[in-house]
Amino acid sequence: MGISFDVAHMLAGLMVLAGLMMLYQDRLYPLLHVLALQAALLALSVGWQAHLQAAPHLYITAAIALLFKAAFIPWALRRMVFRLGIHREIESVVGIGPTMLAGMALVALSLEVMLPITAQADPVARQDIALALSIVLIGLLLMVSRRNAVSQVVGFLAIDNGISLAATGAQGMPLVVEISVAFSILVAFIVIGVFLFRIRERFDTVDVAALDRFRGEQP
């Protein structure tokens, strides 16, 4: 299997670890730091894939991941948290323990589902896709189990990281750069203040439970 698999496995495994660390955090600034870490690992992983597949256009994706997702977005979120005076403690719906157990269960589940069905692909692609799915599921769990709008955005960014890992892991996928740019634009819109700023205009906190008061008609 060799060193190429080992390095890819290490980077993807560390990304999963970063996702679990995000579940563990209950303060906003460290959460953003872990998000930056995960994006940096993604950049490294994509760079390694670019090297393995001899696909120079993937270096562009790696650069986007590094500059945009690992540097700019966490910085922008940090500034927003600071300027909007958002609560820096994140309340979670269930305690951290059960959340982390659920996260581990999701990792196990995604490995169990994805590994058998990708039997035809080569090992690096297989483990990239399986671990990418676990990162996506952990991001979903993060979105669902937190009461703070910023942490929900962070969960979505984790989902974005997972999907980028999958897209580059599936070797030779065309339009990867275009799709990752499109996704990054989506991410940028979520982050760069269009709604956070509007939310700030209206509410004093970005606690989603406060948003619920304005839910309108209850179904």
Binding site: P116, I117, I129, I163, F195, E217
Partner: protein, 477 residues
């Protein structure tokens, strides 16, 4: 070629122009003109189609939807002209946002047309994402508390759906790679259809689950529907019309493309049962929800969920009859629901409220609007002679033939929603006049044009159209 270029270029150019125009009358007129140009190009596509390329494709399935989509876009732009005028007058919408609104409108039309015409599953995804982005911005345009909450919820749920759909797309590529080879061809739909018999069934199954969950969120299937009622209720009414009439269809169209791919892969679990379950759940759930709605737009939003449930159920039943019924229902629902939203928009404007309890006796105070609403609701409830009755009848009979138990559930759901709609209709349209009795400057042409089309379709479907639908139904497997 011209047709395809026109369908795509007209909205794009229009968006660029409208982003800079502040004068309301002028921009509203240009909006209508651009939409008309798109519609004309779509009509050209009926006559002459370009050959499928690596990125764009026009075939039997999407040509109908492109024509329908541009038509509804045109009528919505006409409606929007008078509606937005009223909003500007009451100060609910300000001039800077007007440019934004018009530009986003055309950008969304571009995104939808691109999604419909895409031959590349990656490009289709990007286009759906673009359409999502633009509609989200428009839903939040009033900037009230409720509007922002609705837009945020729509954004988050829509983005999660899009992300899952992208994952499914990646899995489809992964399944195709051993057969088609790496490179751009692995994502071209026509190439995928040709080679589908060699795909790994298990991988395609998992891929379809993700696609169903992802694009299904944008279709508004329960349990991923949570964004839909709020987005319809809080956004401007033209956006509600476009959401219900067009965007749901585009998302469903994406699902259909993948369903065709699944049908061509032997050994893959038929996606039918999953779609049937989701469709039935949406239908019954929305039917019961209709009873407790107090906001008129929210009620019709649940009606959209219900109809999408019926459509997905029909496609889940599959077979020539089921698929035909689904396609017909998609078209009929699109026309009817947008007509309803047109009239509801004017009703809400004249009454100054969206609460049903504060409206009444519409047929007395505003007869033309009131009777249009009555006709629309009668149509959407599935009464003959409107087209929705035809398609629902076909769905029920196809399911009776295959799975009688499901047909019972289906009819139950239909009856429940039927009751709720007519109950509310009688409260709004008949009885004591409530609320303001100001005369309203409404654009009746879009409303009646749609209703007329639905009526005609209910009575007589033109031959070529039937043949088209049958051909596509056969392709859908």
């Amino acid at each position: 070629m011209i047709g395809l270029v026109g369908v795509l270029a007209a909205p794009l150019v229009g968006a660029a122009i409208l982003a800079f125009l502040s004068a309301y009358r002028l921009s509203a007129r240009i909006n209508v003109v651009v939409s008309a140009a798109a519609f004309a190009s779509a009509l050209l596509l009926l006559v002459e189609r370009p050959a499928p390329g690596r990125f764009l494709l026009v075939d039997d399935l999407n040509v109908v939807f492109i024509v329908l989509g541009t038509f509804v876009g045109l009528t919505t732009s006409v409606f929007s002209a008078s509606y937005i005028g009223h909003e500007l007058a009451t100060g609910r919408l300000t001039l800077p946002y007007l440019r934004f609104y018009h530009a986003m409108f055309q950008l969304m039309a571009f995104g939808m047309n691109l999604a419909l015409a895409a031959n590349n599953i990656g490009l289709m995804w990007v286009a759906v994402e673009l359409a999502t982005l633009t509609t989200v911005m428009m839903v939040g345009i009033y900037r009230t508390h409720q509007a922002i909450e609705a837009a945020w919820k729509y954004f988050i749920l829509g983005s999660v759906g899009i992300a899952l759909a992208l994952f499914g797309t990646i899995l489809v590529y992964l399944a195709a790679r051993p057969v088609v080879g790496p490179g751009i061809d692995g994502m071209v739909w026509t190439v995928l259809m040709v080679h589908a018999h060699g795909f790994d069934p298990a991988l395609m199954n998992v891929a379809f689950v993700f696609l169903l969950l992802g694009y299904g969120t944008k279709v508004g299937l329960a349990p991923m529907h949570a964004w839909l009622p709020d987005a319809h209720a809080e956004g401007p009414t033209p956006i509600s019309a476009v959401l219900s009439g067009l965007l749901l269809n585009v998302a469903l169209y994406a699902l259909l493309r993948f369903k065709m791919l699944m049908a061509a892969t032997p050994g893959a679990i038929a996606p039918g049962p999953l779609m049937i379950v989701l469709g039935l759940v949406s239908l019954v759930f929305a039917g019961f929800m209709l009873y407790r709605r107090r906001d008129i737009k929210r009620m019709f939003a649940y009606s959209s969920i219900e109809h999408m449930g019926i459509i997905v159920f029909a496609f889940g039943m599959a077979g020539p009859l089921g698929n035909f019924a689904g396609l017909l229902q998609m078209a009929m629902h699109s026309l009817t629901k947008s007509a309803i939203f047109f009239s509801v928009g004017h009703v809400a404007q004249v009454k100054g409220t969206q609460r049903i309890a504060e409206m009444g006796g519409l047929t007395e105070t505003h007869p033309l609007l009131g009777w249009a609403l009555v006709a629309g609701v009668v149509a959407i409830a599935g009464l003959p002679p409107f087209g929705v009755f035809t398609s629902e009848f076909l769905v029920v009979s196809s399911s009776f033939a295959r799975q009688p138990v499901l047909a019972v559930l289906l009819v139950l759901g239909l009856l429940v929603s039927f009751g709720a709609l007519l109950l509310r209709l009688s409260a709004i349209a008949f009885g004591e006049p409530l609320g303001s009795v100001e005369p309203v400057r409404a654009s009746y042409v879009p409303i009646f044009a749609h209703l007329a089309l639905v009526l005609i379709a209910g009575v007589w479907l033109p031959g070529p159209l039937v043949l088209w639908f049958q051909h596509v139904a056969a392709l859908l497997g």
